[in-house]
Amino acid sequence: MAIIISKWRELDRWFFIGALISVLLALPVLAILLSYSSLSADLWGHLVDTTLAEYLTNSVLLTLGVGFGSMLLGVTLAWCVTQYSFWGRGVFEWALLLPLAMPAYIMAYTYTGMFDQFGWFDSRSLIGAITFMSLVLYPYVYILAKTAFSSQQRTYQDAAASLGVTHAQYFFKIALPIARPAVFTGMALAMMEALADYGTVAYFGISTFTTGIFRTWFGMGEMQLASQLAGALALFVLLVLSLEKYSRKNMRFYQTQTPAKDNTINTYTNTEATPFISPLLMSVGCFSVLAIAFIIPVLQLCVWAWDYIDISMMDEYLTLVSNSFLLAFSTSLLIIVLALLLSYAQRFSTHPHVSGLTQFAALGYAIPGTVLAIGVLQPLGWLDEQINVVWVFLFDEYIGLVFSGTFVALIFAYCVRFLSVALHNTQNGLERIKPNVDDAVLSLGLGRYRIFSRIHLPLLKKSILAAGILVFVDVLKELPATLILRPFNFNTLAVKAFEYATDERLLAAALPSVTIVLVGIIPVILLTRAMK
């Protein structure tokens, strides 16, 4: 016994905990991989003959289109906001992040409904999907490009000017190339969201990988084929991710040069760049983007919601709100605990692979909700089957589904997908507490638990809160995984909004939609605060 205890002490406990969490979170991906153990030539042959080409072209076009669209919007807006002074700049600087609060599927059916209402034109097309997604996803590029542009040394501009280069040439020759890694990262994030999107393409009836996976699973009942399709989609995401990594590889040094200490900073800010676009046009442009991507759809949703509100449906709405909030809240709590455990594993463990482990656990954010749902269902379904076999053998009765089809499956999927969001915050928070602090506490004779409760927790409070809010809102907005994994007869705001919209009951969809958007503003505000 004593030997076992001493062995346990020797074992790197933090590494063990970290490894356990990471392996658990990796299960869905492993399940997807395992589905490739047997390929059905018949089914794949059929797929290749019929719809695979369509899935492939549409997904690729959508991804590239959204990448390009969000780059165009994000970079242009970031450049104007960082370089020139024009009317309303101070407000636009943060307000241009607001579209981030708008899920693409809500954007899509709001505008489609408006266009139908006025009988203008039908936006149910690939171009429409690309446009709407770019309008809500450009803030990823915008915020990163904005940081990159404003951290560029002022003297680059002066140096270029003294070599006879105009401001417009400066943008293309110097500013943009230097900001390229940041722009690529933003584009990659937008493209991953586009690949993962289910709501918009399903509403528009566009055949992509995500809708294809749904159709194969629920329409055809071919679970293994659906898994294999999910695997293919995951491969695309991986491709985008590695392209982004690769593009950054050679450019890591770009922002590492620290600007020289400069006591004449006042004289530098004196030079006003002469814009190659008129200031009025910039104000109008920024306002137009903000109006189209946020103000107009939100107002429209409010009008619809107002028209629809009557007492009879408030009951349903309140149930939806409490369901969604409770689910999101409990998931946030669980994810924060996991994120803290992983962050501490990284801090305390001396194992050489521990940081690789946490990075691995954070990869889940890249897996589209549809893929994840299928990856979760397979192992849990298998587990349920085994439990029932044992149960029947022991007690001669079926106990039904224990994991799949219950909250366990749903929350598990959320954990895999949103852990990285929380982990990013807790890791940063913990890194800011220097190890010396821990040593100081220990040297004062206080135990390790006290370090956490008296020192770390108070210092981490903000990071934990931020992590919680981000996860909360992400869970609230999540559509495809919830759609697949939710327990029977359990509805959330996102699910119900989407179902109403698909049934063309836009007035009914408006109230849950506007709730999601308004709650979604909270993390955007957090983000703008962090920028200052």
Partner: protein, 348 residues
Amino acid sequence: MLTLQNIHINIAEKPIINDISLTLKNGEIGCLLGPSGCGKTTLLRAIAGFMKTSGGEIVIRDDIVSSPTTHVDVTRRQVGVVFQDFALFPHLTVSQNITFGLHQLSQPEQHQRLEELLRLTQLTDFAQQYPHQLSGGQQQRVAIARALAPKPDLLLLDEPFSALDPSLRESLALDIKALLKYENVTALLVTHDQTEAFTIADKIAVMNQGHIEQYASAYDLYHEPDTFFVANFVGEGRFIEGTVSMTPNAPAYLYTAMGEFPAHEEAVLSPLEKQVKLLVRPDDFVVDEQGGFAVNVVSRAFRGAHTLYTFESVNSHEELLCLLPSHYDYQVGARVGIRLELEHVIYF
């Protein structure tokens, strides 16, 4: 090549540059020397065209580039600028950085100029490297090569050595002086470090609070400063109290606790006396144990060939800095006899 005529610059209504005039002849290297906040960088940026002047004229070659009515844009001034932080474009190689301003030339011409500059700056082996792979001194040479590439008539350098290791500065400054002279470019340098100014510049403008105190060679600034500020700012030294006594039809004399010296004064009609401060440089002393004035050693700093002593005069309690060959080895507290040997009698 460069003429500044009564330049005024205000920033936010506050005068930063106040009535500055200065000329640089073709191929001359000038320097704006002064403490931080004296306006030297502002003046440089106005010459480059980054900011407008409030009054006066800046003439480069024979063209008025800044005046109350004209402001030629920086992109069209054809003035080379070397920045304090070098401002090398981090995503371009050494070659691409150097040829950046040569966009009007044809490919073969660009290549020829590039080869020439790489050879002059000894960067040929680093042509394909990125700025972050170079040492500070190499980065500086790239910055200078980039600014020189379009063959500007005027090169402006803003604190070009401040980002470099102090021990390298002097030798780098000599290299750069040779390079500028080879290219026969007129250059104006801004610095707060007088050693740099002395090493590189033909003429130095000492600036203080937005105006020029004196515009002269390093030798003249050191030995014949025009103002108290210049005497105090340039070189090491101390001031001792003195009285100038002038009588009609006789040479004027300066009386101090360390002896008397001939004073240069206009002839007077009636006897006149005035209180002055005499500049005493550390190299103005010789040891004279018998006939000298007694001083006590307050502190000493060994500098190899020489030792810098701080003395206190026994009868006037004035502090003196004194550089003596290091074989004179006096301990703190010792009493020494010294004598002043002034080549230039400078007092204010």
